[in-house]
Subunit: 405 residues, 2 copies
């Protein structure tokens, strides 16, 4: 017997039939003798409608009123799911964020969970009752409803799992697990039985958006064992756990890619102390995040700086830098939106040399030029011409022995 | 400068354009220098959709979960209206039932308001802020959302008006006031500038459903001055107030009719003590309300009892009485659904004789047979054949001098 938090996203509760399916799935787990709490999103489309109404009334809507409106989506689902569960004989009771309460900070529209008192939920679960909890919402210090930002229900589920000391947090989605890479690009991609928190975070940050990043960070911090699995099949999913729990650890867990970045090169900047600050300071002040950075020294006392940022920020970044042109003293600003970032991720890299070398050789063998390189303890990323994305991902997937047998 | 509670029903906030109209109307009252609080219903249709979902999942849905689901309708409206008000420069803030809190008893789905703490609302209004309050909902002793039953937003508005000691509670509806009778039957019906609480109650109970009965009872108890007016025009409406406030009191305020009742006659019951109890006891136990009652004594030691009840209860009443036939000892059960109840209402009756006489003479002059008569201090009601309804209402409207000049 285990204590399990089951989380269902918007497509899993999109209409009454799907809500009934979710109820049946919860009942199966209850009937196996487990203690269960459920966290749900709003019915697919509901949140979009509520957001659209707020935006139509005022593009500069008050975030506190936005939260009041948008949080109703989950409140509808928890009530309906509780009724659906009761109808098939499962003792269930709905809980809004303010009822538990799920205390958050006061950043309306993108609040962070501060604390959840799990005592009453645990008491109910021990009695055999299934708490059905609204995801994505909490209550702020101002006694008003807060929402966690889009996709926040994953974070709610992990936070609830930590609060009730659950053995596992099962996140039901429209994919059936985490793969070694995008199966649309590599048909031989394998579903991973398990992946370490750190790997999941690196994969999420480079585009494999199975779980919201914040939920993985929280799971890692609170040591919540997470399982990603499909709400439409019964296959086991992927466990996201501490790396110590993964018995047969591969050196490389997966290959990720992102086409969301653009490359900026500031040419012929005077090569003197403080020049990096003069370039990146104004960008940071404008709230523009910079990702990969390289600097080449040239012979004539100038240097070229290359970096990447989110493609959508490119026009704004260009404005900011052009304004500071004289101050920074660069000769030319070159930008290239047609780039892709390819990353090899795996906690095994910490103890195995040669991972980066394999990557560079594989890409060179296919004539793919590497424009920028950046590395972390468990990741090697390269920036390449976007048109080589699929070729690169497939080559690396094979090179690291990830192809399905 | 006055303190005013403005209440808007579902048709007044049916879409974003109408919500903007409501905001503009609130702004006009604020700009006149008044302190304003707003109470709103859900967008027209929203509540029906939410109720339908609950019913489709389970006709025997848990009322606590029903309340959780259905109360979201008003929560959406208050957030949107607060945004619409802010957009045109009115300081506004939404309030759900649990935030104020509006404390109710624990009868989920049909709760009654126990107490509202108006202190914080008054403080905000004095600061110039407009509280936008969800009607129809509160919070029960179990810390769960309760709803007041359909139409409960009128009651919410009156209760809020009492709690903030408002000078007036303006109820915006799709009619522009209370008329001397139904203008669809009598084109010469007049809009009343004012009507006494007791008169409004009697009119509501016989089918003139401008305000929810419970809201009028509460207004009378708390001495809240209510105004019924149209949300689509700027004409003044009808004040519902203490009779002492009405200067030019007519003897008869209005003529009401109801086709919702059916007549039941229990023939040849033994005429002995306790026989009324033997008939009406079982009906009361079955939750069936009986309205008008007459008893005729016949010569042979038996009596006929005639009474009316809501037409929808007729089949159930017949079942209940047939079951008790031997016990009661009646010979025959006759029912007639084709009846109408016509009522003449006015607090002036207390001090003026002859009101009933005028009624009987007018009906007799048109050959309309009276089947049952019942009277209260401020009302005379008669049951007649339904096909004479319009004729009777028009005749009485003229007889009491209510026709527009």
């Amino acid at each position: 017997m285990a204590r399990i938090v089951m989380k269902f996203g918007g497509t899993s509760v999109a209409d009454l039939d799907r809500i009934r399916n979710v109820a049946a799935r919860v009942k199966r787990v209850v009937d196996e003798g487990h203690e269960v709490a459920v966290v749900t999103s709003a019915m697919a489309g509901a949140t979009n409608q509520l957001v659209a109404w707020c935006q139509e009334l005022s593009p500069l809507y008050d975030a506190r009123e936005y939260d009041t409106v948008v949080a109703t989506g989950e409140q509808v689902t928890i009530g309906l799911l509780a009724v659906a569960l009761q109808t098939i004989g499962v003792d269930a009771r709905s809980w809004t964020g303010w009822q538990i309460p799920i205390r958050t900070d006061g950043q309306h529209g993108k609040a962070r969970i501060d604390a959840i008192d799990g005592a009453e939920l645990i008491r109910r679960m021990q009695m055999g009752q299934v708490p059905v909890i609204a995801g994505f919402q909490g209550i702020g210090p101002d006694n008003r409803v807060t929402t966690l930002g889009r996709g926040g229900s994953d974070t709610s589920a992990v936070a609830v799992a930590a609060a009730v000391k659950a053995d596992r947090c099962d996140i039901y989605t429209d994919v059936d697990g985490v793969y070694t890479t995008d199966p649309r690009i590599v048909p031989k991609a394998r579903k991973l039985p398990a992946i370490a928190y750190e790997e999941m975070l690196e994969l999420a940050s480079v585009g494999a958006k199975v779980l919201q990043t914040r939920s993985v960070e929280l799971a890692m911090k609170e040591r919540v064992r997470v399982q990603v699995l499909s709400s439409f099949t019964d296959a086991p999913g992927t466990l996201v756990v501490d790396e110590d729990e993964i018995v047969e650890q591969e050196i490389v867990a997966g290959i990720a890619y992102s086409r969301d970045e653009a490359k900026v090169t500031v040419r012929r900047v005077p090569d003197r102390p403080g020049v990096a600050a003069s370039v990146f300071g104004p960008l940071a002040e404008a709230g523009i995040n910079v990702d990969m950075i390289v600097q080449n020294v040239s012979a004539d006392g100038t240097t070229d700086m290359t970096f990447t940022l989110n493609k959508t920020e490119l026009p704004r970044a260009r404005l900011v830098l052009d304004e500071k042109r004289d101050e920074i003293g660069f000769a030319e600003l070159a930008t290239d939106p047609d780039v892709a970032k390819i990353s090899v991720v795996g906690v095994g890299m910490r103890s195995h040399a040669g991972v980066a070398g394999t990557m560079f050789r594989s890409l060179a063998a296919r004539g793919i030029n590497i424009q920028v390189i950046s590395t972390s303890e468990i990741k090697v990323s390269v920036l390449i011409d976007a048109e080589y994305t699929e070729l690169a991902v497939r080559a690396l997937h094979t090179a690291y022995g990830l192809d399905v047998a």
